[in-house]
C-alpha cells in the first residue's frame, strides 16, 4: 500500500518537469502568451520607438548643446584672457561632454534600430559559445526578448503545475493519513492509525512547495520585467540624452542612459545566453536526477525486503523527485541573479562614464538590494 502510494506520488511529482521541459515549441502556451505579451501593446511600441516622437526632444537637446557650447567657449576665452586655470579646465571638460552628446544624438538620429542591431549582435555572440543553432533565434530584438520570455514563462508554468499537483497529492496524503482501525468493544478501546506518519510527509511537501513558489515568483517577475524593459526603456535613452545636454542635469541623464544600456541592451542578451545553457543541458540534468531516483528506489526496495522501511523510502523519494523538478529551475534563477549582478555593475560603470558618479560612489544599488 505504502509503496503504491509512494510511487503514485513520485510519478505525479516527476511528471510535470518532463512534460514542460519540451514546452518551448512554437505552439506551446508559453509561446502563445509571450507572443501576445510582445504584440498586444503595439501602439506603445510604435509610439516609444518612433524617431518622430522624439524629434522635439532631439531638437531641444541640440539647441541646449549649442547654447552650452557657446557659453563654454566664452568662458574658455575669459579663462585664457584672465589666466584662470580652473575655468579653462571646466570649459575643456564641458566641450568634451557636449561633443560626446552630439555623437550620441547622431548615433540615434536614424532611430533606435542601431541599438537593436547591437543587442542582436551581443546575443548571437554570447550564445554562440554554447550552441551553433542558438544564434538562429537571435535575429531580431523582439525574437530575443520573446525567446527568453518563452523559456522562463514555460519554466514558471511547470513550477506552478508542480505546485497544483502537490496540492492534489497533499489531499490524497491527508486522506490516507486519517485512515484508522478501531477496536472498541462496549465503546471503549483503541484506535490505530497505521499511516499517521504521512502527516510529516505532507509537511515536508509543504516546505518543498515553498521553494517552488519562490522559483515561480522570481521567474514570473523576470518575464514581466523583461516586457516592461522592452516597452518602456527606449524613452530613457532619449530623456537621458536630453538631461545630459545640460551640465546641472547631467547626473540624471547619465543614470537614465546607464539604466538603458545595462537593462535594455545587456540584460536580455545575457538572459538569452543563460537560457540556452539550461535549455541545452536541462534534459540531461533531469534525466540524471531521475536515474539517481530509480537507483535509490531499487536500493530502498532491497532494504525493505529485509526490514520495513517504508517511511524512509517515501521521504527519500519525495526529496529526490523534488530535486529533479527544481534543480533546473534553480539554475535558471542563478542565471537571472548573475545577469542582474552584471547589469548592476554595468549601470555603475556606465553611470560613472556618462556623468553620474554617485551610482558607483554612493553604492545606491547595493544599499537598495
Amino acid at each position: 500500500m505504502n509503496r503504491i502510494i509512494t510511487i503514485l506520488v513520485i510519478l505525479m511529482l516527476i511528471f510535470p518537469s518532463f512534460s514542460f521541459a519540451q514546452s518551448s515549441s512554437s505552439s506551446s502556451p508559453a509561446s502563445t502568451a509571450c507572443s501576445e505579451l510582445y504584440s498586444s501593446l503595439s501602439n506603445i511600441y510604435a509610439a516609444l520607438r518612433s524617431t518622430s516622437t522624439y524629434s522635439g526632444l532631439i531638437s531641444l537637446s541640440l539647441l541646449i548643446i549649442m547654447s552650452v557650447l557657446t557659453i563654454v567657449a566664452v568662458l574658455y576665452a575669459v579663462g585664457t584672457a584672465f589666466k584662470i586655470e580652473s575655468l579653462k579646465v571646466f570649459s575643456r571638460n564641458e566641450i568634451l561632454e557636449d561633443v560626446l552628446n552630439f555623437i550620441m544624438i547622431i548615433f540615434i538620429s536614424g532611430g533606435i534600430f542601431a541599438v537593436d542591431s547591437l543587442i542582436s549582435g551581443l546575443a548571437q555572440f554570447s550564445s554562440s559559445a554554447f550552441s551553433s543553432t542558438s544564434t538562429q533565434g537571435a535575429t531580431s530584438l523582439t525574437t530575443i526578448y520573446k525567446n527568453t520570455c518563452i523559456f522562463y514563462y514555460s519554466d514558471a508554468i511547470s513550477q506552478i503545475s508542480y505546485i497544483v499537483i502537490m496540492s492534489i497529492n497533499l489531499f490524497t496524503i491527508n486522506l490516507v493519513s486519517t485512515v484508522s482501525v478501531m477496536l472498541m468493544p462496549n465503546g471503549f478501546g483503541i484506535t490505530y492509525q497505521p499511516l499517521a506518519w504521512y502527516v510529516s510527509l505532507s509537511k515536508m511537501i509543504g516546505v518543498l512547495g515553498a521553494v517552488a513558489v519562490a522559483i515561480a515568483g522570481i521567474e514570473l517577475v523576470n518575464v514581466f520585467l523583461l516586457s516592461i524593459i522592452y516597452y518602456l526603456f527606449p524613452i530613457f535613452l532619449y530623456l537621458g540624452i536630453l538631461f545630459r545636454s545640460f551640465p546641472w542635469t547631467r547626473p540624471i541623464g547619465g543614470t537614465l542612459l546607464g539604466l538603458f544600456i545595462s537593462f535594455y541592451v545587456f540584460y536580455p542578451a545575457l538572459l538569452y545566453a543563460f537560457s540556452y545553457i539550461t535549455q541545452t543541458y536541462s534534459p540531461k540534468i533531469s534525466y540524471s536526477i531521475f536515474n539517481q531516483y530509480i537507483n535509490l528506489n531499487e536500493n530502498i526496495n532491497s532494504l525493505e525486503s529485509i526490514s520495513p522501511l517504508s517511511p524512509t523510502s517515501a521521504f527519500s523519494l519525495v526529496a529526490s523527485s523534488t530535486a529533479a523538478v527544481i534543480a533546473v529551475s534553480g539554475i535558471n534563477i542563478l542565471g537571472i541573479l548573475i545577469s542582474l549582478i552584471i547589469c548592476f555593475d554595468l549601470i555603475e560603470a556606465f553611470g560613472d562614464l556618462l556623468g553620474a558618479p554617485s551610482l558607483s560612489d554612493g553604492g545606491i544599488l547595493r544599499r537598495l538590494i
Binding site: M12, F15, S19, P29, T32, A33, E36, L37, S40, L41, I44, A156, I157, I160, S161, I163, V164, I165, M166, S167, I168, L170, F171, N174, V181, M182, L183, M184, P185, G189, S202, I205, G206, G209, A210, A212, V213, A214, A216, L220, V223, F224, L225, I228, Y231, L232, I235, P251, I252, G254, T255, L259, G351, G355, A356, S358, L359, G362, I364, L368
Partner: protein, 339 residues
C-alpha cells in the same frame, strides 16, 4: 471625489509654488545689494592692507551673490512652467497614461492620479482576486466516516479527511497576500512623498536659494535646492512615466495574456494525470489560479521594481546635483531612516 481633491490641491499648488518668488524677491534683492555693498567695502580695505587672498575670496563671493540672484529668476520661471506644463496630454499621446486620466494635468496631478489608479484599481484588484482564491482553496468540509466490520462487535475502520485544496497553493497565496500588504505600504509611502512633493519643492527651493546668497549657508542652500528638485520634479516625472505605462498596459495584457491562455494547457495536464477525473469545477479553479498568478506576477513586478527604479534615479540626481551646488546629500539615506 479624487478629481475634486486633485483640483483643489493643484490650484493651491499653483499659487504656492510661485508665490515665494514674487513675495520674497524684494527681500532677496535687498539682501544681495547689502552683501555686495559690504563685500565691496571689504574688497577696498583688503586692497589698502595688501591682502590679495581676501580680495580673491571677496570677488568669488560677489559673483556667487549675483549668481544667486540669477538662480532665483531661473527657478521662478521654472516653477511657473512646472505648474502650467500639461504633461498629461504629452503622456497620453504616447499611450503612457492611466485610462480617463485628467487632461492637461500638470506633473503633480498626473503623478498622483497614476499612483492612485494603480493602487486602488490594479493592486486592489489583485488583492481581491487573491482573497477570493484563498477562500476557494481553504473552503471545504471535514467528514468523519466509520465502518464496522460485519459480525465483529466494536471493530471497524474510519477515515476523517478534509475536503479542501489547501496545501502548497495556500503557501503561495499566503506569501502573495503578505507581499501585497508590503506593496500597499510602499505605495502609501509614495503617496505621502508625491503629496508632499510640491510643498517640498516650494519651501526647500525658496529657502535654498536665499541660503545660497550668504557665504556661510551656501552649501546648505545648494543641498536644499538639489533635494527639492529631486523630490519636487524628478520623482513626480518618473512616477507619471512608469506608473502611467503600467496603468495603460494592464488592461490590454489582462485580456490578451493573463486570461484564457495558460489555463487550458495546465488543465489538460492535470486531466491526463488524474486520468480524466477533472471536472468543470476543476478547470474553472485552474484557470482562475493561473489568472491570479499572472496578475499577481505583473503587479508584483510593477509595485516592487518601479519604486526601486524611481528612487535610484532620484537619489543619483540628488547626490550629484547637491555635490555641484553645495554639500552632498543622499535622498535614500534620509528615506530609509524615515522608513
Amino acid at each position: 471625489m479624487l478629481d475634486i481633491l486633485l483640483q483643489s490641491c493643484v490650484q493651491s499648488i499653483s499659487s504656492f509654488l510661485t508665490s515665494p518668488y514674487t513675495g520674497w524677491f524684494p527681500i532677496v534683492m535687498v539682501s544681495v545689494l547689502l552683501i555686495i555693498t559690504v563685500m565691496a567695502f571689504v574688497y577696498t580695505v583688503s586692497g589698502f592692507i595688501g591682502r590679495r587672498d581676501i580680495s580673491e575670496n571677496i570677488k568669488i563671493s560677489i559673483y556667487q551673490s549675483l549668481f544667486a540672484l540669477v538662480l532665483i529668476m531661473i527657478f521662478g520661471a521654472f516653477s511657473t512652467w512646472l505648474c502650467t506644463f500639461g504633461v498629461s496630454n504629452q503622456l497620453s499621446n504616447l499611450n503612457l497614461n492611466a485610462p480617463n486620466a485628467p487632461s492637461d494635468a500638470n506633473i503633480y496631478k498626473d503623478a498622483l492620479y497614476n499612483l492612485y489608479y494603480f493602487t486602488n484599481a490594479i493592486l486592489a484588484n489583485a488583492n481581491n482576486n487573491l482573497f477570493a482564491l484563498l477562500i476557494a482553496l481553504n473552503y471545504g468540509v471535514k467528514l468523519s466516516i466509520s465502518v464496522n466490520v460485519p459480525g465483529i462487535q466494536g471493530l471497524g475502520f474510519g477515515v476523517a479527511p478534509i475536503f479542501s485544496l489547501a496545501g502548497p497553493l495556500s503557501t503561495f497565496s499566503m506569501y502573495a497576500s503578505d507581499s501585497l500588504g508590503w506593496l500597499f505600504l510602499i505605495n502609501y509611502i509614495q503617496f505621502i512623498l508625491i503629496s508632499a512633493s510640491p510643498i517640498i519643492f516650494a519651501i526647500f527651493i525658496s529657502i535654498g536659494l536665499i541660503a545660497r546668497i550668504f557665504g556661510i549657508s551656501r552649501s546648505f542652500g545648494g543641498s536644499l535646492i538639489a533635494l527639492a528638485l529631486g523630490i519636487g520634479f524628478v520623482y513626480p516625472l518618473m512616477v507619471s512615466l512608469t506608473y502611467g505605462f503600467i496603468n495603460y498596459s494592464f488592461y490590454s495584457l489582462q485580456s490578451n495574456v493573463f486570461q484564457n491562455i495558460i489555463g487550458d494547457n495546465l488543465q489538460s495536464i492535470i486531466i491526463s494525470i488524474l486520468e480524466g477525473s477533472a471536472t468543470f469545477g476543476t478547470s474553472i479553479i485552474l484557470k482562475y489560479i493561473m489568472y491570479v498568478v499572472n496578475t499577481f506576477g505583473f503587479v508584483l513586478t510593477a509595485s516592487a521594481l518601479l519604486p526601486l527604479l524611481n528612487f535610484v534615479v532620484v537619489d543619483t540626481f540628488v547626490l550629484d546635483f547637491s555635490g555641484a551646488f553645495g554639500e552632498r546629500m543622499s535622498f535614500m539615506n534620509l528615506l530609509t531612516r524615515i522608513v
